[in-house]
Amino acid sequence: MAVVEVRNLCKHFDGGRVRAIDGIDLATGAGEYLVLLGPSGCGKTTLLRTIAGLEEPTEGDVLIGGQVVTGLPPRARKIAMVFQSYALYPHKSVLANIVFPLRAAGVERGAREERARWAAGLLGIEHLFARKPRQLSGGERQRVALARALVRDPTVFLLDEPLSNLDAKLRTSARDELKRFQQEVGVTTVYVTHDQSEAMGLGDRIAVMSDGRVRQVGAPVEVYDDPADTFVATFIGSPPMNLVPHGDVLLGFRPEHLLPSEHVPGERLPVVLSVQRMEYLSGDRHVYGTVEIGDEPTRVIARLPATVETPVRPGERHEFAISVGRLRFFDTGSGTRTDPVRLASLPAASGLGA
């Protein structure tokens, strides 16, 4: 188990006009499952490719297991990578695909087969050994790609959106399997995805990226509950965190924390929600409307779980509230997290509607 670390990493394309990675410092823990999450074009795949050695950084260093590997070719890095497309060798059988890294490493035939059987057994694909990649389903291809990555005892796994080519149903079970598999093998893993539910489900920690920078690194619960800035707040969560301007701060609260007053215990911030439209999604009601906190009406979304049965109809005004402990505060200008401010301009924080 090795630690992967990047120091002050930059990768520019077109002579500096495109900054795919713009100064990243990041380190995994040993055996950790680190997810790089961000919208497309945020630099997450470039970061992964730079760790793999497929791209040379413009500046900064890549360290694997404490050794600087910047400038070394991919094969000198003892890493295994699974590409989005799985990149199986189309002219080779499944077995030949799996043993390819071992042959490149000069492992002798008998030992190769043994390793291949072990890896294939772990993924349940031994019966596919004689097939060609084109005769496999999407899920089988993914397993073959994983077996090929696993067979060489890599120090690090690099996975580039390995689930995005599977259909939605398969994706959920594959995600589950991937997690179990990594826990069994215990290899440090860097996983790239743009899908936040994958990131939440798989990652020990998540690094949220945008515009070539890391916005926040933390456990799933941290990036969800305590986003470092408004980008993380709105990128993570579906629907995203509501942001309401109030003086020189933005008030942030998750849709599931904006509830009818009677469902909000303790100290709370009452708001009046003018309901515009409703959606009914897998048991939850998503209520779209405006609230008037501070200066002007702001569009917000409330998510009422099935347990909240308060009747809510479009066109009506309702007494809602947010638990004060659930409020997050961001600087209006920079968008970064700030200390809580006293909401003195509001009516008594527990009064209205009780």
Partner: protein, 299 residues
């Protein structure tokens, strides 16, 4: 009121199909079918340039060419010429394709220069080669003399083996650019992530070349090699301009021999018979190509 829907010409598939096919059918019949039929007829006749009347002679033309040592010499030369040319063309084409693929400054200039031999009319470029290989004024000999590698001029086109080597060299020079471009297309069709996967899996340059790139581009290479072989097999341009088959038929190939016999020697019957001798060989090559294409479509 709207006009009732009517079937227009553009809606009638079967009529249109015939309409579009007709030019091609006429073209093939007039320029391939008719000459082919004539060639078969001529090969069984005693038609000559001086006496165009058609008299049936059966297989006498074939008997006569089979008894002619120059025919066997040409047949052997054709195979030697084709085999060595194709081998060199595939190897150089592959190397050149890799150069074209690489990213470097001034790549467009190199690409342009590489394609130049192919775009030059063969008669023109071969004339240049004729001068380059001249027995007295050859610049190649001059350079070799200056380097001290040879004592006197080599007579490139005057000595049997050197003449054959020269013909092959010029032909290779002419076809390599095309082969390189075709193989470049093949190389570009290998998915980039498969190459990168191999690199991450620990394969070095040569392992990637022999285990990934070449197997994956093999169908393209095979097809372009077969096309090139057919082209080389039936080609007489280089031979005609450079050596006219000489010295004493040492570089004669079937195509040039058929031409010299049939057109320049006016023995049309024999020329046709020699030319038809290529048919079974070319047919076999064509079948091989079509089968390879089919295999590619299936996989």
């Amino acid at each position: 009121m709207t006009a009732p829907a009517r079937r227009r010409l553009a809606d009638r598939d079967s009529t249109l199909g015939w309409l579009f096919l007709t030019p091609t059918v006429v073209y093939i019949l007039a320029l391939v079918g008719l000459p082919f039929g004539l060639a078969v007829a001529f090969s069984l006749s005693d038609v000559t340039g001086g006496d165009p009347s058609f008299d049936w002679v059966g297989l006498r033309n074939f008997e006569r060419i089979l008894a002619d040592p120059v025919f066997w010499r040409s047949l052997r030369n054709t195979f030697v010429f084709t085999a060595i040319s194709m081998l060199l063309i595939v190897i150089f084409g592959k190397v050149l394709a890799n150069i074209l693929l690489a990213e470097f400054r001034g790549r467009w200039l190199v690409r342009f220069l590489v394609l130049l031999p192919w775009t030059t009319p063969v008669a023109l470029s071969t004339l240049t080669w004729l001068w380059l290989l001249d027995s007295v004024f050859s610049p190649i000999d001059w350079v070799l003399r200056r380097l001290g590698l040879i004592e006197s001029n080599l007579f490139w086109l005057g000595q049997p083996n050197l003449a054959m080597a020269s013909v092959i060299m010029v032909h290779v020079w002419r076809l390599v650019p095309l082969a390189a471009v075709i193989m470049l297309a093949g190389l570009l069709s290998v998915p980039k992530d498969v190459q990168e996967q191999a690199a991450v899996d620990g394969a070095g340059y040569w392992r990637r070349m022999f285990e990934i790139t070449i197997p994956l581009t093999a169908p393209v290479i095979a097809i372009s090699a077969l096309f090139g072989a057919i082209f080389t097999f039936t080609d007489m341009a280089v031979v005609y301009v450079l050596t006219r088959g000489g010295p004493t038929n040492e570089t004669q190939v079937l195509a040039s021999w058929a031409f010299f016999r049939g057109i320049e020697g006016s023995d049309i019957g024999q020329g046709a018979a020699i030319a038809l001798f290529l048919l079974p060989l070319l047919l076999a090559a064509a079948i091989a190509i079509l089968r390879a294409v089919r295999r590619m479509e299936v996989s």
